[in-house]
């Protein structure tokens, strides 16, 4: 009777032992000893946070604190936190995603009382990212719906950036004097020119860089980061544009609230805001950009989301998954292309 090979006799119990021990390995988050902050943010600021975290650790308030960052589409990240992902600090692309957490009891309703700009940590604007040299001569919203132009914009039902893009498009048309019906028709035209709808802003830019589309609608800060990296692109700021405002908050169930609050304070401080400016994000603290010797051009006809009635109204009217205008447009477009 052949004996079991001795290697196996040793290996199998050893494997079970190792796996038993490995079960005890804790993910070093959830406020374990050593000061870790769990940061859950939207997709774009991954690179920025790396630089900022390093600066933060050099301050007394930040000494010995590590920031564990999770980045993804804004809507998805909010869903994940609601589903239980550990989060001490949350930084989303837009207010409605923060409101989701307020409704779930994970963020205090007073989150917008923090900081110089009612809870916002950075601003930005929507830009058109095009290939280097701008071969299709895209300068304004009208060029996006020109014949033959292919647009990339993320999926509005998961990505914050996509919602900013479409809100900007609609608002731009209204600023140009069009009626709501005409502005809606523009959205329809824009979406019919869209050739890909990846799940996040970063994914959209990545898709664009692999060669899809002629223009991708994205955050200005994402464009700046890409150019700094040497990607062969340039960007255009349309004259009619929306002011993107990104909210930040410490969660109610933060495992490490002191460190978390110190971190947010740093992000909103003069030094922190200067660092954001260097990374390409428009600071919310007046004077910070100047102090960092960075100028951000102001679009001629800049408006905020309040021009369109505020996010609650916009979310309901445009982005409700069944009754929203965008949902209906996508459905209509689908039925005409589904036969293809």
């Amino acid at each position: 009777m052949p004996r079991l090979p001795s290697v196996t006799r040793v290996l199998l119990p050893a494997a079970l032992l190792v796996s038993g021990l490995a079960c005890l390995i804790d993910v070093p988050s959830a406020g374990a000893a050593g000061g870790t902050i769990d940061l859950v943010a939207y997709s774009t600021p991954a690179a920025a946070y790396t630089a900022i975290d390093v600066a933060f650790s050099k301050y007394p308030a930040g000494a010995g604190i590590t920031v564990a960052g999770s980045y993804g589409p804004s809507g998805t990240q909010a869903t994940n936190v609601i589903n239980g992902q550990a989060a001490d600090v949350v930084n989303f692309s837009l207010e409605p995603d923060m409101e989701k957490l307020v409704q779930a009891g994970l963020v205090s309703p007073k989150w917008d009382a923090v900081g110089p700009d009612h809870g916002m940590v950075t601003d930005s604007v929507v830009v058109f990212i095009v290939r280097k040299g701008n071969p299709k001569h895209i300068t304004g919203w009208k060029d996006l719906v020109r014949s033959g132009v292919q647009v990339v914009t993320p999926n509005p039902f998961s990505s914050g950036s996509a919602r900013w893009n479409l809100a900007a498009a609609y608002g731009a048309e209204r600023k140009l004097g069009r009626t709501p019906a005409q502005a809606q028709a523009y959205l329809q035209a824009l979406l019919s020119h869209t050739v890909a709808q990846p799940s996040s802003a970063s994914a959209a830019l990545a898709t664009f860089l692999t060669g899809t589309g002629d223009v991708v609608l994205d955050y200005e800060d994402d464009a700046i980061a890409a150019i700094n990296k040497g990607d062969p692109i340039q960007y255009v700021i349309p004259p009619q544009d929306v002011l993107i405002e990104n909210p930040i908050a410490v969660t109610t169930h933060a495992a490490n609230p002191t460190a978390a609050r110190a971190f947010v304070k740093f992000l909103l401080s003069k030094k922190g805001q200067e660092l954001w400016a260097i990374e390409g994000y428009r600071p919310v603290l007046p004077g910070a950009a100047k102090a960092a010797s960075i100028t951000f051009p102001t679009p001629r006809q800049l408006f905020t989301i309040n021009y369109l009635g505020g996010w609650t109204k916009v979310e309901k009217t445009f982005f409700d998954p069944t009754t929203g205008i965008v949902a209906k447009i996508e459905e209509g477009l689908g039925q005409s292309t589904a036969s293809g």
Binding site: L4, T50, S70, N80
Partner: protein, 297 residues
């Protein structure tokens, strides 16, 4: 001669199909990963801008830890399930048989979703777990569970036909000689199934190393903490942090896959069976009928 031409034509077509579908794409990604040079490739993988430089190593360690837990658990389960199905007749045996195969038909995204629905904060056991401070989803246990779910069938399916083929004679003999159940298992059963077990474990490992869809839903993508290698590669590509780094990571995963294949084919060649996957393609019942059907010719 028409015959020769026919054979040549078929061979060419087949090779062309394989080239277009498998060989050339794999070669292309390897080329693209290493074209800028080996040093650049390594640098981009380990130090992509915007991600912690330790991200790759953490991902590698996490992947190995997850495999180190999920694979043994599934191996133990697979052997027990195979023994139960082969040796016992009980109501519900057919159901167990079917349920073991179920994970193959479930989309990875659905796997992630269903685990979140039970073990997530708002899930069935969520409250109970949260009250005890246990984090399953978005943490290592969740990743292990997702990886285990998708790879459940492989060991059971590899071991079951072996158990059925060898029958219970030796085990019964050992029992009448006075061996206890443990001894029978260790000294009689386990050695006789070791090749099937090895196949199953290798397939399970390959599947666990490659899991992506379920983890996209339930891992939480925390850089340096809950990203496996597959998630890390996806993150590099999707986050536009470094496509060269993503390519290099992809190539490394491909090499790992090839190593797994090499192990399997070495074990396979010893046993003389041309294809391990074919064992899995047949359920034990039909394997007997089809082998009988070929001999009836």
């Amino acid at each position: 001669m028409r015959r020769l031409f026919g054979r040549f034509g078929l061979r060419t077509t087949v090779l062309a199909y394989l080239a277009l579908l498998v060989i050339v794409p794999v070669g292309a990604i390897a080329y693209r990963a290493f074209a800028p040079g080996l040093g650049t490739a390594w640098h981009d993988l380990a130090n992509p801008s915007g991600a912690s430089s330790a991200g790759f190593f953490h991902a590698l360690i996490l992947t190995l830890v997850v495999a180190g837990i999920a694979v043994p658990f599934n191996a133990v389960f697979g052997v027990i399930a195979a023994l139960v199905l082969a040796r016992h007749r009980f109501p519900g045996a057919r159901l167990l048989d079917a349920v073991i195969d179920l994970p193959v038909a479930v989309s990875p995204v659905v796997v992630g979703l269903s685990l979140v629905l039970v073990y997530g904060r708002a899930g069935w056991f969520g409250g109970w777990l949260a009250a005890r401070g246990i984090q399953v989803i978005f943490s290592i246990p969740g990743i292990v569970m997702g990886s285990a779910f998708v790879s459940i069938p492989y060991v059971a399916r590899a071991v079951l036909p072996v158990l059925q083929e060898i029958g219970t004679d030796q085990e019964q003999a050992a029992a009448t000689l006075g061996a206890g159940p443990w001894q029978i298992f260790w000294r009689v059963t386990l050695p006789s199934i070791r090749w099937g077990l090895a196949y199953g474990v290798t397939l399970t490992t390959a599947r666990v190393l490659g899991e992506f869809g379920a983890l996209s839903v339930l891992a939480g993508n925390v850089v340096g903490h809950t990203q496996t290698l597959t998630l890390y590669v996806g993150y590099l590509f999707e986050g536009n942090l470094d496509t060269v780094g993503a390519d290099v990571g992809a190539v490394i995963l491909a090499v790992l896959a090839l190593c797994v294949l090499a192990v399997v084919s070495l074990a396979g060649s010893e046993k003389g069976s041309p294809s391990w996957l074919s064992r899995f393609a047949r359920s034990p019942r039909s394997s007997r009928t089809s082998s009988l059907s070929t001999t009836s010719l």
